[in-house]
Each structure stands twice: as structure tokens, then as C-alpha cells.
Symmetry: C2
Subunit: 214 residues, 2 copies
């Protein structure tokens, strides 16, 4: 697991939602947007929104708010979403296929160049325009495409062995959708996506509504 | 959007990962587990783990740590995962199908009783053992099954109209995987799952590794 720590992880997590709203304002022709408007749209406190946006280095003007175009650029630059990042997807099952077709990723510079699977019926075909190759060629494929990001959607028991191949092939980051905590070198960025996290939040809110929690 | 606020959202988000590790210790026959062991496993600070676990009402013993069985029960009870929650899935595309097959949800009491889709080739079939019905019967289906939770995986432009049907049918919570911010009554719990959030974290870590951020 990488030793890279993110000081403002909850803030970083919220930035894409802000970006979504700010882009809507941009399309509507607005020049300025206030933190309060963003906060109301997302059911957050305005002070939270202003603190979160401050990590990108931008400060709003009193009464006017943030200049929309500069705000989009500041967020995109902070996230590195103003550059294209070549990515491969490893494991083209249901979840993998859904990620290949997730259009918002293209807006974020995430560009899937290839996907890999063990299923012979998938190999040689395309999913959402991305070619599927044999898992045997994953190392070669990553080197050829110089992919930095690998999205890992293989079955969990295959996760660690697959991750080791990915690292050997030279990826610098793994977006891990499996249940396995990967053991890789400290210089490799690993972001584990746990669908149970969101379900835990939903569950706690449901408990509150039912009056079981304060 | 529901007005229910979760004071410890980042802590709640981490509870499923803790549960995963604690259950492993349970299967290995351990009676106690320390916060430090959990922290090391997840690359967190021990103080963070102890604070997070405290929200479930359990306190560890000095030197011994937490009694494993009581800790599992405390987390499950806090999350309401010690009860079965009937759920429907609305939109059985790639992402929806992946969620129907996500085995960990069964451990968390999430029980999919039915799924709904507009595609005639899917209706009448089963995906991961869950029957697919016509979208026209979603209101009737929710009432029949008394489902509390609806998992929304329809295309984003259909999200708001579909959510209104779900609410009319009586669901108390919507797990929203679309890009649309749903406008529903304040008594309805909505948890929006934004795959871009995790990608934002990965991106920031990648920027740090490259030395573009401090």
C-alpha cells in the first residue's frame, strides 16, 4: 500500500460534485458562482464549500463569489484532470464494462486505451469502443500503451497476483475495485473503492429516519 | 434531498473495511483484536481507528484490544446490518447487474428481491438469481415486496422521473448511482454514489507522486 497520505480526503472527494455544478453554471453562461449556491445545491454548509475549494488555491470574492472559468480550471488543475491519463481496465465483467462506459470519466482525462480479460468470447471484441485483449498480454499491453493507471475489476481471489503483474509492467497507480487489500510497493498509488462504504452511510441514515439512532 | 445529516460520515465510510478485517480475525479464531492491528492493515493511524469504532459504542481494553465477537456485533448493530433489508434494483444494465452480483452485500443484510428494466430481452429472466421485471411494474413490485431500499442505476436522464415513482411506491431510501441530484421529499434518504470521488483521490495521490503537489 502506498504511503501517500491525502490530508483533505473528504474535501477531495467532494470536488467532482462541485465541478459538476460549476460546469452547469458555465454552460448556463454565468460568470460568477457563490459558495452558498454550490452548498445549497449539494445540501452542505457554505463554509465547508469555501474550505474545500480553498485547497485548489482559489479564493472567492465577497458578494460576487468565484469566477466560474477560473474555478473550473483551478479544480481541474489541482486534480490533474486538465491532462489525459492513459488507463487500462483489467477484468471486463459487468462492473468493468460499466466503468468502460462511464462517460464522465472522459471529462476527467481518464482515457481507457485497452481492457483485458480471460474470457475467450470477449477477447478481440470491443466494449464501449475499448478493445478487449487476452489477460496473457496485460504486461505487454501496459508497456505498449505506457498506461499509468490500471483499473482492477478482476474477481477478488485473482487481485493480488494480477496487481503484481501490473506493477511489473510499470503502472504507477491501481484503482482497486476488489475486496482484496493489495500488497504492493510504497511508490505505487492504490485507491480502493469499496461499494460497502456508501451503503454504510445509507444504512446509518435509514437507521436515523427510523429513530434507531440519534 | 433528505435533511438527515451524518456527523461522522468519513468514520461511517470506514466501518465496512474494519468489519472485513475483524471478521477475518474471527474466522482465524482470535478472541481479541487491537486498534493498532486494524490500523496497520488499512494504513491508518491507531487513534483514528479507535475514534471511529467508538461511534458504535464499543471501547477497547488496554493491552487486549477489542473482543472480536462483540465488536462485530456492535458495528453490525450500529449500521443496522444485523437485520435484513429488502431492496429493489432499478435499471439492470452493466452496473446494475454488477451490483446484483456483489456478494458482500448479502453479508450486510442487503437482499435484492427484484430488479426492473425497460429492455424486453431482459424481462422475465434472472440476473444473479434476482428476477427482472418490466419497468412498468416497478410501483406494484415495490409495494408487493415492501422494499425499503431502491438502488437506482437507470441512465441519468431518467433518474428524476424514476425516483418520483419509487417514492410514490413507498421506498424510504434511494441509493443513487446516477449523475442526477434527485429532488425528493425531506423524509427520503438519498445516498449518491459518485465514482468520480474515488478517482479524484487517486488523481491527487498520483499528482503527489509526480511531485506536482505538496
Amino acid at each position: 500500500m502506498a504511503k501517500i497520505k491525502i490530508a483533505y480526503a473528504p474535501s477531495v472527494r467532494r470536488l467532482p460534485s462541485y465541478l459538476h455544478i460549476i460546469r452547469q453554471a458555465q454552460r448556463a453562461g454565468d460568470y460568477y458562482i457563490s459558495g452558498t449556491i454550490i452548498a445549497n445545491e449539494l445540501n452542505l454548509e457554505p463554509i465547508q464549500v469555501r474550505k474545500d475549494l480553498a485547497i485548489t488555491g482559489i479564493i472567492g470574492k465577497p458578494k460576487k463569489g468565484y469566477p466560474v472559468e477560473a474555478l473550473v480550471k483551478a479544480i481541474e488543475h489541482y486534480l490533474g484532470w486538465d491532462e489525459i491519463h492513459e488507463a487500462v481496465l483489467v477484468g471486463a465483467g459487468n462492473l468493468g464494462s460499466a466503468l468502460l462506459g462511464y462517460q464522465e470519466f472522459q471529462l476527467h482525462g481518464l482515457h481507457f486505451v485497452a481492457a483485458f480479460d480471460t474470457d475467450p468470447s470477449k477477447i478481440g471484441k470491443q466494449v464501449h469502443g475499448v478493445p478487449i485483449f487476452s489477460m496473457d498480454s496485460v504486461e505487454e499491453g501496459i508497456k505498449t500503451y505506457k498506461a499509468q493507471i490500471a483499473v482492477l475489476t478482476v474477481p477478488s481471489p485473482m487481485a493480488q497476483a494480477t496487481a503484481e503483474i501490473l506493477v511489473r509492467a510499470g503502472v504507477s497507480s491501481i484503482w482497486n475495485f476488489t475486496n482484496t487489500k493489495l500488497k504492493v510497493g510504497e511508490d505505487i498509488v492504490v485507491q480502493r473503492e469499496d461499494l460497502s462504504s456508501g451503503y454504510a452511510l445509507l444504512s446509518v441514515m435509514l437507521q436515523k429516519v427510523k429513530g434507531r439512532l440519534d
